[in-house]
Amino acid sequence: MAPKKKTNTEDYLRMYRQMVRIRAFEDNANQLYLSAKMPGLTHMYSGQEAVAVGICEALEDSDKITSTHRGHGHCVAKGAEFKQMFCELLGKEEGYCRGKGGSMHIADQSHGNLGANAIVGGSMGIATGAALSARRLGKKDVTVCFFGDGATAQGLWYEVMNMAALWKLPVIYACENNGYSEYTKTDEIAAGSITARAEAFGIEAHMVDGQDVLAVNDLAQKLVARARKGEGPFFIELKTYRYHGHHVGDINRDYYRSKDEESEWKKVRDPIANFGKWLESEGVVTADELVAINDEIRADAEAAVQYALDAGYPPANEVDMHVFAGVDHALAYV
């Protein structure tokens, strides 16, 4: 942990809680998958919590984010509720998207989350456009575009970075480099340096330890404030690690990643455990208080899971609703 003065206990505790909430959400989502209670599949954010929380805690509610297929962490960090998220994962009517999106498309526009995206790099244009829109409409909103190291291979990124830099848009490109592009080491898919890609467009680029929530938050606070003043765009590469496979079904992964490597990260670099220890050592909380926070959040998540399991599916007549805005049922329209 970076040495920090104990300046804001409430902020620290909120960041800790948000990270624990993401971990608890993911543990339950994984369990739902393993017990065959969840349709489809999902991609776990566990291990990367400090990235989403460190950045989203630097944002206002009206600031926008775009998220990825590995998006539960961003969604929780931007203010979403467990119940509606689990309902969405299970395809239930009370989900954020009435069950029409699922894990890979959760959007929570009430907190500025423009949605997860199942096309790798697919939201880079959307984030840049949200930043253009904010500036054109005289709003002060900043947009953060989350994406993984794998998405840096997509051409779209270079097109929109060029325009964001030309037009000085209030957008921050946040690359979560978890070392793996699906089932392949990032070293094998990315030539040269990732930060240099942004720098080539004259974009100020930073690299930060994505396991250190305070370091992430500190950098994000500064860049968000500057982007709001019109000094953007910015780029951040956050070095992090995903604990699970590419998706929940990616269990036997020795061929691309060793168990030793995984346990090393979990043991030494866990963002939640390390931040908890730091909070204790700084006298912000006691070990017992941390346990109580964890227990409370775990119970909350489990209750939300049960709620979602008991919740109803959308009625069949919803299938052709929401195809077009302003059209009740698309099949009677087209």
Binding site: K100, S133, R136, E159, V323, A330
Partner: protein, 332 residues
């Protein structure tokens, strides 16, 4: 008051009027500002609205398409200018995976009110990558509306409706018609989507033509009239939504139909409309429904070859004659 203006001017007027009405509208694309596009459709707009609302982009179609989607999701109403319809392949992910699906995937919470204006049409000697009519590709994707103006009057009214629509709308203008004039009222008017225009009443055969092919059908009807064959001509105006009822009512009356469209014939608009007629008006038919699309070859450069790839008035009249006289054995 009505005056005659070009299709190009009609589009320009529609956009200017809407931009004056609604500050959230902006134009974005390659060479839309000072250049006013290669076809000069947007000339003068940057002078009135400034570079903040008429935004020149780098040559990066997926990039500015994606930017428009994000802007549309957050309170803006972008009009995206795609220089040639052929470039739609470049924006397919942003258009079809993002714009078209966002409203649905978010359970109706997010909307994408944007217009993608582009063009179609061959016989401009522009070869295979600047001549395609690709509207069927986007009409296939749920969540996108597709408008095909067939004159200056149509272009203005449909563009204004498109801009006010809360969904992604793709408008294909026929690039060979930009200089064609038609009477256009000075007063404001809008043309609603999903209401076909019966251009000409007839008894013997229904000619359904889209975009550039409306004129072809009109001319075919004139040829046929001299031979005593009465053709009804219908312009669907939008293919999504499609005014099925007007088409079916006409075919129930005439008992014969030819669908003419400049997109490739195979797996195209002509097949879709013909199939709906066959499914829903089969027992009214006296002849198999005919499809006449663009030839299923890449558009050739040589004028000698290009001209034979697109339906012509004579070709449509020939086909109508065959089905009206019961002489059709097998359509080619």
């Amino acid at each position: 008051m009505t005056r005659e203006i070009t299709l190009s001017k009609a589009v320009n007027e529609a956009i200017a009027e809407e931009m004056r009405r609604d500050e959230t509208i902006f134009l974005i694309g390659e060479d839309v500002a000072e250049a006013g596009t290669p076809f000069k459709v947007l000339s003068g707009l940057v002078e009135e609205f400034g570079t903040d609302r008429v935004i020149d982009t780098p040559i990066a179609e997926p990039g500015f398409m994606g930017i428009a989607v994000g802007a549309a999701m957050t309170g803006s109403r972008p009009i995206v200018d795609l220089m040639f319809g052929d470039f739609i392949f470049l924006v397919m992910d942003q258009l079809c995976n993002q714009a078209a699906k966002t409203h649905y995937m978010s359970g109706g919470k997010l909307s994408v009110p944007l217009v993608l204006r582009t063009n179609l049409g061959a016989t401009r000697r522009s070869a295979a990558q600047h001549s395609q009519s690709l509207h069927a590709l986007v009409a296939h994707i749920p969540g996108l509306k597709v408008a095909l103006p067939s004159s200056a009057y149509e272009a203005k009214g449909l563009m204004k409706t498109a801009i006010r629509d809360d969904n992604p709308v793709v408008i294909f203008e026929d690039k060979l018609m930009y200089n064609d004039k038609a009477p256009v009222p000075e007063e404001e008017y809008l043309i609603p989507f999903g209401e076909a225009n019966v251009m000409r009443q007839g008894r013997d055969v229904t000619l359904i033509g889209t975009s550039s092919m409306v004129q072809v059908c009109q001319k075919a009807a004139e040829i046929l009239e001299k031979e005593g064959i009465s053709a009804e001509v219908i312009d669907p105006r939008t293919i999504v939504p499609l005014d099925e009822e007007t088409i079916l009512n006409s075919v129930r009356k005439t008992s014969r139909a030819i669908v003419v469209d400049e997109g490739h014939q195979n797996f195209g608009i002509t097949g879709e409309i013909a199939s709906r007629i066959s499914e829903k008006a089969f027992y009214h038919l006296d002849a198999p429904v005919q499809r006449m699309g663009a030839m299923d070859v890449p558009v050739p450069f040589s004028p000698a070859l290009e001209d034979i790839t697109v339906p012509t008035p004579e070709g449509v009249a020939d086909r109508a004659r065959l089905i009206c006289r019961g002489e059709l054995v097998h359509a080619a």
